[in-house]
């Protein structure tokens, strides 16, 4: 399991694992671009507005004027992005 929490984000984030959960906690109200992919699991993001989904991935922009690109991928496992 990858469990990361950021108090501040000033650059892009890429996080991948061959298998396992990814849990990312980001600063409250952060605007960002997201791609999240898992072949089997659940994807949970702070807001679904602006997020497009395929059978196994989600992508889009959360908030306005995004300041970071966040790419998360796991071959199997849940992906959870939440605000602090």
């Amino acid at each position: 399991m990858i469990d990361i929490s950021f108090n501040d984000i000033s650059s892009d984030i890429t996080c991948g694992t061959s298998s396992g959960k990814i849990q990312l906690t980001i600063p409250k109200s952060l605007s960002f671009k997201l791609t999240a992919k898992t072949s089997t699991g659940a994807i949970q993001v702070p807001s679904s507005d602006g997020i497009a989904t395929t059978s196994n991935s989600a992508s889009g922009t959360i908030g306005t004027n995004p300041i970071a690109q966040i790419d998360l991928s796991t071959s199997s496992g849940a992906i959870e992005v939440s605000y602090q």
Binding site: M1, S19, G20, K21, T38, S39, T40, G41, A42, I43, Q44, V45, S48, I51, T53, S55, N56, S57, A58, T74, S76, G77, A78
Partner: protein, 306 residues
């Protein structure tokens, strides 16, 4: 396939699912299982049923003409079940065992998606042999049902799923902790510990002086045994939500995904989740399970169903 290499097939069927339950009293002793799996601990244990409970009502003729009644083998003898009829076209279809998960409304989704559905009766119910064991022997029964399904000509043995709601959700977790026969499992509003069944009307059936009896019926203790994709859903306004949070915080097992459904209660999440599960099974066409749920999809489904 791991674990349940049993010489004897078992069967079960429980449609009425009167899952009698229980007022619980004990369950405070802590036993060190030394890293053993649920499967291993059960191999050295026999439940002690001290309160014999059965349901003698026969299984009724299925109202849906797409279903038939079958008997399938189990450790306690032949158990009855409802199962979708063979479409008769020579094809093999995905199948799901429902433990209190599907309603008449959601059944249409599964029929429309060409998913074979089995409603197994379990020991002690519907004139089946054996007695109610309150989530112990019933675990074996469901595995027996899956074995039966896997041998049917019209079922794809690599695409057998399991889904349950409430006590059926608890049973779904316990079964999935015992076997990898299922391609994926869906547990809706399960309980974490057997001790937390504190509201159930009927007397408990096993020896309440033995802590192990509780532990072997408590999925939270064995989550790390799960080796197939498993999805746990619970509404945030469900009384079982505290159990959901407890389960989620206990294990980092990557095979398990937890989805909280905003503003869902114990009952209103059922049909929306069940319909979504049918869609995911129908689209699960890779060599291995390929199922992704999105939290907002479930929340949207719940909203649309109101």
């Amino acid at each position: 396939m791991k674990k349940h290499n049993r010489k004897q097939k078992s069967t079960f069927l429980v449609i009425a699912f009167s899952f009698l339950f229980m007022s619980c009293t004990g369950g405070t002793e802590i036993i060190d299982y030394e890293g053993k799996s649920l499967y291993d601990v059960r191999q050295d244990f026999n439940t002690n049923i001290v309160n014999i409970q059965q349901n003698k009502s026969p299984l009724s003729i299925p109202q849906d003409s797409n279903f038939v009644i079958v008997d399938y083998p189990s450790f306690v003898g032949e158990l009855s079940a409802y199962i979708s009829k063979d479409p008769g076209d020579g094809s093999k279809y995905p199948a799901i065992i429902s433990v209190n998960m599907l309603s008449n409304e959601t059944m249409k989704e599964y029929g429309g998606a060409n998913i074979i559905v089995m409603f197994p009766g379990l020991r002690g119910g519907n004139q089946n042999p054996g007695n109610y064991e309150s989530l112990y022997g019933e675990v074996d029964d469901i595995i027996s049902a899956a074995e039966y399904l896997s041998n049917l000509d019209y079922v794809d043995s690599h695409k057998i799923y399991l889904g349950g709601h409430s006590t059926g959700g608890t049973l779904t977790l316990l079964v999935t902790e015992m076997t990898d026969i299922f391609r994926a499992s869906f547990s809706i509003a399960p309980m974490d510990k057997f001790q937390n069944y504190d509201h159930v009307p009927k007397p408990i059936v096993f020896d309440t002086t033995n802590q192990k009896e509780y532990d072997l019926r408590s999925p939270i203790l064995w989550l790390d045994d799960i080796r197939t994709p498993t999805f746990v859903f619970t509404g945030t306004k469900d009384g079982n939500y505290k159990n959901f949070k407890s389960l989620k915080s206990t294990s980092d097992n990557s095979y398990i995904s937890f989805l909280a459904i905003k503003n869902g209660n114990h009952n209103n999440v059922l049909n929306s989740v069940a319909k979504l599960i049918a869609q995911k099974i129908a689209a699960d066409d890779e060599a291995t399970a390929n199922i992704t749920f999105y939290e907002h999809q479930i929340n949207s489904n719940l909203h649309d169903s109101k």
